[in-house]
Each structure stands twice: as structure tokens, then as C-alpha cells.
Symmetry: C2
């Protein structure tokens, strides 16, 4: 319920009618000029488009979607903004989507409880699809998307729902590579610093890491629960690390920002040096990771491919909302070695 207010005073927009009158054509013909596969004489189309350009006519998207039931709108749901990985993804995705004529309607929610409300608001605009970045959607909210006819794409963090599209990197493989990297360099006491326990990214990275360690015959990595993907959580996790009955020499953190916090916590609070006393690996390769003060060894997300895949899905869904859901996992880079890891001496066990 909103207050009724005066109409906008600005100059009235130019409409199909205006353009049709100007050209001495019917509105139907003018309209057809804007649809690639409409039947219309090429020369007519050209004339219409040229004149439209001149007098600044563009079809009103609201009127269009009223009829076509297509909005060219993609909803984007964001919540975890602590992680610098997302702002970049968000803006690049937006740009790429704009390039194919889709507009992004942004929905933000600090805590996930509010995500559902936000999604509801979003759905009233009938987005052709919704992309979820770093947020989990309640199954209720997902049902609503389905009813509204807006398919979902989960980016990075995946959903259990088989009805949803997904794009992420192969986190399990990333975890395995982290394990191999450390084991190859003689690390034998491994630990995983775990973030949000329900996030697929966290779970898969952990599983890959732990499984591979077992396969290689190394003691099962200990898991430290940091609980979230954030600097503060990593910093706090240093305490749990200190409380361990032994000191791991190789630590894989759920992502970069967590690793950076962890390293600083370990240094400040425990007086330990990385990589002298322990090696630390992150995940993402955010730009901060290569800053000299961090110089973090990490695994790069295949962001370009992930973005391209998402846009591809978006395009397919815009054309046909009934498209069958698929989730694509893209293999990440090998470990990028910087200054938070090093070889361990061979030890007699």
C-alpha cells in the first residue's frame, strides 16, 4: 500500500503511436521492426529503426513484458558481502548480462532470514531468472520462484535442490590439490579451517582435502570450525588452533579471507610465523591474496569460465524457461604458490 502521488511532470515519452504517425505506418508494423523473427520487409524495418533512433524511441519495457511475459530482468540475490570475491563477481556478471540486453535487479539481505522477504519482493517483478550469489534460499523461497516461473541459478555456492541450475568450481578437486600440494612438500600434520558448515563450497573443499589425505596415507586432517567465511572468523580460529593437542604444519582454509584472518591470528596471538612454523593455503585468489603483505598461496577460482557459463545459462533460460536444470563444476587452477607455504624437512616418524 503506497501513497498516491502526482504523476511525473517530465516531457512525455515518445511512443509507438508517435513513431507510427511520423512514418505513416501502422503501429503493428512499427512494433514488428523490433523483433528479429517477425515478418516484415527488410527495408521497412530499416526505415523504422533509423527513424526510431533519430527521435529517440525505444519500446517501453513494461508494456512489452505485460504481453510477452518476459521482463529481460534477472534478479540477483546477494548476502555475504564480507567476502571480497563477490563484489567483483557481482559487477562483472552485471556487465555481462547488460551486454546481452538483460537488466539486473539487485536484492540484498544481511541475514539470511531476510533473504526470503527480499526474494518475494523481487518476484513481483517477474524476473526471467534469478541468480543467487552467496546465499542460501529456503526451500519455501525456492518454491515461490518456481510458482512465479523464475528459474534459479546458484553461483558458487550450490543448492541441494535438483530443480536449480548451478555453477561453481570443482571444489572437491581443489581440496584434493591442496592436500597433494602440502603432502608433496612433506607436510604430515594437516588441518582444515572450516567456514559456514552448510555451504557446499565449504563442505566440498573439506571433503576433497580430507579424502585425498587419507588416500595418500597421511593422518586424517583435523578440522577447525571457524563457522563463517570472514576475516574475523579466521582470526578467531587461531585460538582453536592453539588448543589442539599437537601443532599441524599444513593448514588449508576454506577461502582466502578466512586464511588471511587465520594467518594474522596465528601471528599476533600465538607468535607463530607463516610459513616458518606452518604453511597455509587459501581458496579464491582474491586480489588481496597477491598483495605483498599477504602473499597468500591459494587456489584460483576459474571466475572467467564460471561467469561465461552463467551468462550462457541465462541466455538459454531467457529463451526457454523450461530448460532442464544442470549444474556445472569447473576445474580450478593448480595451487598458486606464494609465501605462506614452504617445504618441510623430512622427519623421522
Amino acid at each position: 500500500m503506497k501513497a498516491k502521488t502526482l504523476n511525473r511532470q517530465s516531457k512525455p515519452r515518445v511512443t509507438v503511436k508517435d513513431l507510427a504517425r511520423d512514418l505513416g505506418m501502422s503501429v503493428s508494423t512499427v512494433s514488428r521492426a523490433f523483433y528479429a523473427d517477425a515478418v516484415i520487409a527488410p527495408t521497412t524495418r530499416e526505415a523504422v529503426l533509423a527513424r526510431a533512433q533519430e527521435i529517440g524511441y525505444k519500446p517501453n519495457p513494461f508494456a512489452q513484458s505485460l504481453i510477452t511475459k518476459k521482463t529481460q530482468i534477472v534478479g540477483m540475490v546477494v548476502s555475504d558481502i564480507n567476502n571480497p570475491f563477490y563484489p567483483e563477481v557481482m559487477t562483472r556478471l552485471t556487465e555481462d548480462l547488460q551486454a546481452i540486453g538483460m537488466n539486473v535487479m539487485l536484492v540484498a539481505a544481511s541475514d539470511s532470514a531476510k533473504v526470503d522477504d527480499a526474494v518475494r519482493l523481487l518476484l513481483s517483478y517477474q524476473p526471467d531468472l534469478v541468480i543467487i550469489l552467496a546465499a542460501s534460499l529456503s526451500s519455501e523461497a525456492m518454491r515461490e520462484c518456481r510458482v512465479a516461473g523464475s528459474p534459479c541459478i546458484f553461483f558458487n555456492r550450490l543448492s541441494l535442490d535438483p530443480e536449480c541450475f548451478g555453477v561453481s568450481c570443482d571444489n572437491r578437486e581443489g581440496g584434493r590439490r591442496a592436500a597433494d600440494f602440502l603432502i608433496d612438500r612433506n607436510h604430515r600434520a594437516l588441518a582444515y579451517v572450516s567456514a559456514f558448515p552448510d555451504a557446499s563450497t565449504n563442505v566440498e573443499r573439506k571433503e576433497g582435502f580430507v579424502d585425498r589425505a587419507k588416500e595418500r596415507g597421511v593422518a586424517e586432517p583435523v578440522v577447525i570450525e571457524a563457522g563463517r567465511f570472514s576475516y574475523d572468523a579466521g582470526y578467531a580460529a587461531a585460538d582453536a588452533f592453539a588448543a589442539l593437542p599437537f601443532r599441524p604444519d599444513g593448514v588449508f582454509c576454506a577461502n582466502d579471507i578466512l586464511a588471511i584472518g587465520f594467518i594474522e591470528g596465528v601471528r599476533e596471538k600465538l607468535g607463530l610465523d607463516v610459513p616458518k612454523h606452518l604453511s597455509v593455503i587459501g581458496f579464491d585468489d582474491i586480489s588481496m591474496a597477491h598483495w605483498p603483505s599477504h602473499s597468500l598461496t591459494t587456489i584460483r577460482q576459474p571466475v572467467d569460465e564460471m561467469l561465461a557459463t552463467t551468462v550462457e545459462f541465462a541466455r538459454a533460460l531467457a529463451a526457454n524457461p523450461e530448460e532442464k536444470p544442470v549444474v556445472r563444476r569447473i576445474v580450478p587452477s593448480a595451487v598458486i604458490e606464494r609465501n605462506t607455504t614452504r617445504w618441510r624437512m623430512e622427519e623421522t616418524e
Copy 2:
């Protein structure tokens, strides 16, 4: 020009007609229930709203805006995503706007040349207003906004255009405080690390800093041109710093991310210690600034007030697009002292 495609298959949405039939009322009456100041019997309204809730009816915003010429959409233009200050602002602003029933349409453009195109696309959705974060709009683009009847609010970085709203902190005052802080602590050789030369934020911070130094009778601060608001620009600026004929002992950087890059450049490349050899002050107080590894002395932006003011403007403009433009500057915090600054010894000059 787009491809024509099949209509969405999903269940048809429930419309006013459905609800009216269900309630045995006219569509006019049903419609009126959703407008606070429409003439309608309170009991009728209640009945309509209750039933709408039950069967999941919500007015179609496209149909609504076709008539009211109001879209409840605010366009948000973003470009400088290197600066961690913006993601937070972006999401908080989005949340706050959602809370008053407005939806955010995001427009991103990596380089400012593309901003204009992006704005054009945005305008086809006739946003009730557009908020510009960290981007400059060409006067051409601003003219288009005016023609389209979408007023602009510049957030943080201001525009010269007197027709635009603006919300920022009092950057000049911030610059003065930085000068006072350093001078009070016996710094006598001051420098300013300048970012994007056209940004009002940069210009005003510099002017405040320089003016205040002069007022206090200290030698005019030297200006180092870093050119952009980014870590890399700050890191690179260390070279220009080294090339100076003397070594400043107090440096004020245009913002935090620049300061962090500068400090690291100075440490890594020149082997200087901050704050031992020189003090450095940033601007913004991004969350990174209080991380132990940076522990940056800085001036906090009054983000809460800036956000509140922006939302207030947005609300006013939604009610009346003819609202007279005003720019509001909010006084920033005093310098927040951390570990990149310290007292200088009294020197004989």
C-alpha cells in the same frame, strides 16, 4: 531487437480480475484497496487485503507503472569496485531501499566510457531516481536522465551539476583534521597522496589538508599523484615518494585502500617503517583498516548518516520528482588513531 520466443509456461498469475470475481466486487474497488489515500470503506479494504494475502495476489508492478508513471525502481550506477568501501554501501543502500518498497536496478560499468551506455539501458526502465556510486556521469548522460524524468543522487563523489542531489561527507573538513592531527604531533613535512584527480572526494580532501597546513604555518604539503583510488596506485606511489628531494614525515592518503597500498610500497620497496619513519593517515575506515596487519590510522566516513540521508532523499523524490536538488555534506569522525601514526620528536629547524 530480440528473438521472439515462446511465452513462459508457468501457472498464470492471479490478477485483479480474479480477486474481484472471488470477492464479488468490481476491479476498481479491489484496486483502491492497495492505495493508502484512495476513497474506500475501511472494512472493504480489509476484506480485499486479507483475501489478496490468502490467494497470493499482488498488483503487477508493470501494469501499475504503465499508468502511474512511477516504477518504484531506483537505478544504481557503480563502477569503482576496487574500493571495499562501496560493496558495503551498495548492499546496505539496497536493503534500506527495499525496506521502503523500492527495488534496485543495478548498472555496472568497468570503465567510465561504458557508464553512459549502461545508464541509457537503465533509463528505459524509467527509474524513479538514479543513485550514482563512485562514478562520474557525462553531462550528456545527466541530460538524458533529466529528459527521462529520473533525478540523480550522487553518493560520496559529488557532481558539479547543480541539478543533482548529492550526499557526501565533509571531505574538506576531513582533510583539515588530518592536517591538524599530524601537525599537533609535530609533523612538519607533509604530503598528500592524490587519487583520481576529477573526483570531488579527492579534490576536497586535498584542499582541506593543504589549506589547513598553510593556516597552521607549516610548509605547503607536497602532492603525490597516484591517479586512482586503488591498492596498486598506492603501491606505485611509493616510487614517487622516494623520488622526492626530501622525505615527508606525515602523509595523508586520499583513502584507505590507497593508504594501505602506499604503506606496503614504502615498506617493501623503500625499506621504510611506518610509523617509525613516517606517519600515514587514510580515509574511509573500511573494515580492513582495523585488521592487525594494517591497523591504519584513518578518518571514518559517516556512513550511517550518509545512507539515511540518501534514503530520505529517495523517499522525497519518489513522492515528488520535482523536489529541489540539495547536496548534503556530513561531518566525518575525528581521526581514529591506530598504528600507522605516532608523535615526532621536536626538531630544531
